[in-house]
Symmetry: D3
Subunit: 240 residues, 6 copies
């Protein structure tokens, strides 16, 4: 998992591209299912969440194993994961796509932020969602959920491969979240994806400026008319 | 379809009534299923979207027909529809009620706006949703969707009758969207609906002013007490 | 149902605790299903909705019994409920978890507010949702719904036990709604829940201040380390 | 409810027509939602279930009110309903469309049969479904469900108007179930529906015999070609 | 569409392989979504349904266009499609994945059979399902549906590309249905798929005989151990 | 996990009681969620499946890791699990509740049977379901699924705690499946559950015989009338 650490320059590039553009980059490589479905940010942050995945897996709760007393165990996987998730990483929770009960609340999420974690993601829901929305650290979920997670879920595994919102997440994969969605970049592809998405974003910016000025998309997007590519080169030169 | 063009005075009336009121007007005529279900505006515009429908139909994608190279075809139906949708019309997409992948993104939607289109609607989702939300032209969808539409959908037909959010949409039907929902008015009923809804809206405004002042709804809404109708006439006279 | 009226001091306490905290209080008593699922406030109010439940039950509509003329009946259960719901109570509607058509609109909700009702809840949707969102009285639903309720629902029973968002609601139960969710407190448990939640909230505030200052949650949340309880007592003393 | 008792000759007719034909009869009268959706017979009986509805309403269970001890109460609504449902009636349960837990099991259903009840219907599921399938009395549900009903449901009301599979059911309505589905005939329409469906069935039998012999459906179904009506009269005369 | 007619020898091969095997053949070619989801045979036929697709597209019904009188129109698309579907073809209906109302009933299906059609498929439901189940011609649906199709659907297009159970279906594609599911083979791939699946089936038969005799699947399925391929050749020689 | 092996006498008892009865036994102990939801037998076997759980966990598939070549790896977890599952155990698969693609097919299931495995369970679907239905070994799934599992799932973990149909399954838990459903008995409770269910079954048999003979359920089920308990003792004595 540590074979492909996230380089600072890759991270910088990933902070400036959209998830949509990264989706197209993945699509070219045959990866079509890397978006965490039906999960969105609790509040808009104006910049991307970027970081390697650190995972927590929930399974259905059995009542005798999930009384409140369990939280007194210092090694309870949910609490333990919050203390273990490395700085700069994103804690990603497989909550079995259910927001009937919460995946975590504002105390745990505040602790993650205090520890320097880059963000937190669940395919379930957070309790105290409105407080979490006001934190600086980005958080993503399906919808608010007030019941304690013990009601339906038992935290069972830390940092194993999981599904989140029907997307595959391996520990160390690079998560990029914008105001719309989150994409999971396989660790070994993050760098090339960042570079390619950066290039595509420049062209998309050029296209958008042309479209705002009245240009047709035919021949321009994609650039089937060579003239547009030439004009793009000029535009880029002028911009920098 | 062009037998019932949208008159400017009808459009002006439809801009000032709510979708809820138009629903009641349609209900009186036995039409109970004209609201596009589970689709909402990306941002509030403070005024209604009104325009005739121009449609795009998606079908499930077959992988060999839906590689990125398809977009290089100037007649690709999605791109073609964006260039063909007439000024003042609303582009309505049957995305099979799935927001797993996007129906369109900010470049296409910006192009629609530049071309003078009145709005864009999908029962799936838009990518770059947060950018689209900031455009002046109204856009409606189910939720943000970052994957390229090719992932699950192939644009197959332009301007045929479709379903959108389980409502029937015929080319030329008049769409009216407010901050809550969109209703599909059959073209031949749009004018009478506009007139009737305008009258109903006046009475509803009167009712609301009475209710705010402490009146009971019994006898007032609906006006089973004749006195209220008389008072309404007076109120109208005073207002104008 | 009137055996357990809501005391003013209980109400005051319930206005200051979160639904999440109350969920944990109920969980300790073996009640795990008291949150109204998938229902949220139309707008944030900055304070809790608190009041005893007054209920309305909908059943599927049969067309011959649900024409617009029905509303002319002064005893139509929907209209009647709006006029009957006692001041300070919350009108809770079992809309069969469907937002295909509306549970009510802005006129009825404004009337409820004028009558001093504490709030209104449906597991379906409101029409004129954006107007309702701007009222001072809190309202909770699943999503906007523009069709008239007659389209799918017939109001059939007033103030009987119902389900709302899969939670059991008995007339007189105490509803507490914050910006995330609503919990249904059985009437006989409301007072003890308010007291216990108030105590827990104090400790959670203490925890949050510690976590913001860099403390680990282990030993602190829950307080397995006695030192934290001592420090909490001191913190409470200082705060008051 | 007793204003429209089921006459023996109406019952006899309803035993010989299909639910599909009755749907068309109701459709002509503007009733489009009378089929209990997604509910089917546990086993094929080779003849229709016909009888007036006697209803039982479930609401979501609250744990403190739904321990096994409740069944010791001789007036527990579920057990009481089983003993009260009149001979020849159909017990219809509103189980909130959930088969997570059972609506009843083989002992209660056997008791219903012993008491001369005409059938039993739930929009949830039965436990001991395979035993119930072997009883002579027809039973309809969504799917087998082994958990005790207390797990999610509390029986709360006997013989009130309910929804079942999203269809409206009033006590005394006539239920007709065949191997496909169940339709709910409003009590006052049952007789005329029986007569009309009987006539339609004769014509459909005629059509089917013609189609099997190679006839086109155009002009025949419906009978837009007068010749077919004449031929039908002859066919009927020959048949009797 | 007629560029790739179904050859008799291809048809013969497709009658003897399973849909599962054909799925693997398609998977090798990058086609992963060719199974019509959540649709199954009304009864087991003991042999495959094989034939080119002839399609019918439904859209949501608007009440004023969908009264029973519409069926008197000899060109009503549903009735017309039944008379037009060529012998040996399969009529495939896009019913928008809803079995709330019927896609067709026993008269139309019997007419299809009388005309020599190879089968009928809907992603909704059939009325008179138990009668249709007893016909010799195979029929596939989601579940029985007794309401007339006019209740929710309007037949709008004949023989256009459609979605059925989320799979893409183009007129002329070859449908193969067994007791489990239906796969849609793109017309130009049907022949090669038939050949490849036939070969795979032989090997799978060999594997199954070995497994029944106690062999491990490792090295055998797939044949990573060369010895198994040699043994297979011998087995084939012996079998013929 | 091996602390609570399944004793032969416990197994013998569990073969003769229903899942419904075991549900009530678990309910008494506060365990309400032990039934694997929406999963049923491919065919009725006339006797219960009983055995300790051996588990396989699937996660969402990433395309580059899930090509057909993966099956050539002798340690591929799906194939490996089939060879490792101990005799007398039940292989239980967490297929993320999706039957879009298959969890396994007839070759693997036949191999399990040949190895003496007691049964196989998935909350997804099997391909070649009709062949599997004819095997002697019981198999349970949601519905047939023909696509290869690689299409959506990657087998990732063997014999870890999983969810199956929203029920918690720990390796070594005792699964009991009848013609309706499967229940998961925590290993340490299996013996006492077997004993208690056996006793309850005797009483239920007695009740059923009384009900068939015309007895009311009041006082009998449950036995609030002491007379019935006395009669039961006699009945038991006579029966043996």
């Amino acid at each position: 998992m540590t074979e492909h650490p996230l380089k600072p320059e890759t991270k910088a590039m990933l902070e400036k591209v959209s998830v949509a553009t990264l989706c197209t980059v993945m699509y070219k490589r045959g990866l079509r299912n890397q978006v965490i479905q039906d999960v969105h940010p609790l509040s808009q942050k104006g910049k991307n969440m970027v970081g390697p995945a650190f995972t927590l897996r929930y399974m259905p709760a059995r009542e005798d194993r999930n009384q409140l007393i369990e939280f007194r165990n210092p090694k309870h996987p949910q609490r333990h994961a919050v203390e273990m998730c490395p700085e700069g990483h994103v804690l990603v929770m497989d909550s079995r796509k259910s927001a009937y009960a919460a995946s975590a609340g504002d105390i745990l999420v505040t602790r993650l932020m205090a520890r320097g974690v880059a963000g937190v993601v669940t395919d379930g829901g957070f309790r105290d969602a409105m407080s979490i929305a006001q934190l600086e650290m980005p958080a993503y979920h399906h919808r608010p959920a007030s019941l304690t997670n013990l009601t339906i879920n038992e935290a069972i595994d830390i940092n194993v491969p999981i599904g989140c919102g029907d997307a595959p997440v391996f520990p160390g994969d690079i998560l990029v979240g914008d105001d719309d969605s989150i994409i999971v970049l396989p660790a070994h592809l993050a760098e090339e994806a960042a570079i390619e998405a950066t290039e595509m974003t420049a062209y998309e910016d050029f296209v958008l400026s042309k479209v705002k000025a009245g240009a047709s998309i035919i021949g321009l997007y994609p650039a089937t008319d060579e003239k547009n590519l030439a004009e793009f080169e000029e535009w880029k030169a002028n911009r920098s």
